[in-house]
Point group: C2
Amino acid sequence: MPKISEKGQRMPESPIRKLVPFAEDAKTRGIKVFHLNIGQPDIKTPQVALDAVKNNDIEVLSYARSEGSESYRNKLAQYYKKNQIDISAKDIIVTTGGSEALLFTIGSITDFGDEIIIPEPFYANYNGFAAANGIEVVPIVSSIETGFALPEIEEFEKLIGAKTKAILICNPGNPTGYLYSKKEIEKLKALVLKHDLFLIADEVYREFVYDNMQHHSIMTDKGIDQNAIMIDSVSKRYSMCGARIGCIVSRNKEFIQTSLKYAQARLSSPTYALLASEAALDTPQKYFDEVIIEYVERRNTLITELNKIDNLKVSKPKGAFYCIAELPVEDADDFAQWMLEKFSDNNETIMVAPASGFYSTKGSGKNQIRIAYVLNKESLIRSVELLKLALEQYKN
Amino acid sequence: MPKISEKGQRMPESPIRKLVPFAEDAKTRGIKVFHLNIGQPDIKTPQVALDAVKNNDIEVLSYARSEGSESYRNKLAQYYKKNQIDISAKDIIVTTGGSEALLFTIGSITDFGDEIIIPEPFYANYNGFAAANGIEVVPIVSSIETGFALPEIEEFEKLIGAKTKAILICNPGNPTGYLYSKKEIEKLKALVLKHDLFLIADEVYREFVYDNMQHHSIMTDKGIDQNAIMIDSVSKRYSMCGARIGCIVSRNKEFIQTSLKYAQARLSSPTYALLASEAALDTPQKYFDEVIIEYVERRNTLITELNKIDNLKVSKPKGAFYCIAELPVEDADDFAQWMLEKFSDNNETIMVAPASGFYSTKGSGKNQIRIAYVLNKESLIRSVELLKLALEQYKN
């Protein structure tokens, strides 16, 4: 029998999706499962985007341009200008989700065995994209004790070596909800300039910033034109996760040209989704205002309720819609699976993502979970109640 | 300035798309360009697929399941059964185009530096997917003189070494239009069993088989369950290139499980396109009958007209909708670009794909082009007339 590759064997399972079979079994047994495991918002997609697809007049569903149409990229550039990011269509490659934007980026700047430094915990699929490219994630620990603030620059410098190609941040952070300050972004800029590294920022949660705080994009300051690569996506902004449209933004022409070759090899992004994504740029501001009010309420509810649980530690997120909670259990993987397999109250239980998959340091995050607050307030209150009951029963 | 990776530098430009800027310049100068360069049919997408998207009632455009929904995979399995391929939903991973199916496959079965043997000329993007994965394409020459038949098995055996992981065929072939006989498929099966290799067959043109010939899938015979991997796509079958939906089919459970990890890392395929693709499976047989009649006519027209050109060599395709033509020029890359930049007749010209990018042996195919007969008869006649005129002027 021919063999699976070592790379394929090393590919991690998704911590967000690996417990799905247990959730499906629970549902078969008649149990309602509250999904806190996945960043799939229940928020309605903007009508203008839905309508663009319903009213399409496509007769031959053709390929799109590999880099995205001129008109979509021009409209994206306008959107970015409104967000203090002064770029033009030629600095953009449209991709099939933020996932593909990351794959093209890693492919364009790293070779087999190269390294990328990422503050951990980080978005779990960064591990997958690294494995798929045969490169190593070098984690730098950010701690729940400091609310997952940027680690000291000296700690980064200890990790930089000949194989280091880039530093990757997610801002605001999935799974931490941390929002980097202007000062922290400036420190990172100085660091990548000093060591001639790329700085990749996954900014897909740009709009999800709370408490009147300000988001600072790595693309706003032009001092690091050749180093800065921004990853973006329509998935969360417009509650359009199923569109699978994202983009790469960089002023580094050689990088953009290299990414274009990857884009050409896969031909194009999905045409219907491009229609929806271009139309979504006309979403009225009111939509976002309402969404942000909703998420602030959800966050406040979630954190207030979680804080009522004894021996549970949580850091209040400043952005995105996730938080990491440290539980009074030894093995959150086991606990999460147990909640689906063995626990229920009134025929209800919850599904969470064990946080260990969001770390690359072995053994880290073992007693943590990621909670996505993508459900309404009532469901969140009930979910935390279920979590509390589960913790009580699991210990006994 | 931080550096682009060696891998990124090695990524080939698409021979199908690299001349696009010259075509756009020509159009700006008011010249009509007949596109024979790209397999983008002008055939209407089945109404049932278009309607499924127009009549959708999606309110939250959510992620799909990473491997594709149970219902779509079940319907796909039924479609395959009708095509003498007895598989079930669990043997299928739905992908974002045949492109992604190839990427997951290569990622699952090869490590950095491994080799895959491919009869050349082959679909140009195989070079791209190989480069993206840091593996080598080992070409085995099939010749226009034999109509691109399968090379002798002894020739394959000379190329098989410790790093060889798979043999990849495209059947019917892009860019050759060659259809492998049952005997040829059987020879390949014996070969991969003997050397414990994977046999990957890109069968996206399965329906496009002419002259009452029969398509032989590598999945029909169950003797090579652990070795056989089929790549498929809705792009050509339903003239839905812009959907970006494909799939991997294999009875090798370990391989499917590994591919699933790649699928999970990128979350899901595009939701609207999945709607269209599932509905497309209900396309009436009449649609395909008409399409095949149309393509046979186009092929016959194209080959008849091409044969009128002096010193042009072409092999009559038995399937798909491409042919390789050998031209009386030294450098078809230069000639193709010249036709866009310098040539026109009555303000019209043609765009073709230089064939060199469909080879991995350096220098091969330099005097060949790939022609996609995806335009109507009239346009094809005019296109060959333009080609003839261009050849006359280019020589002088």
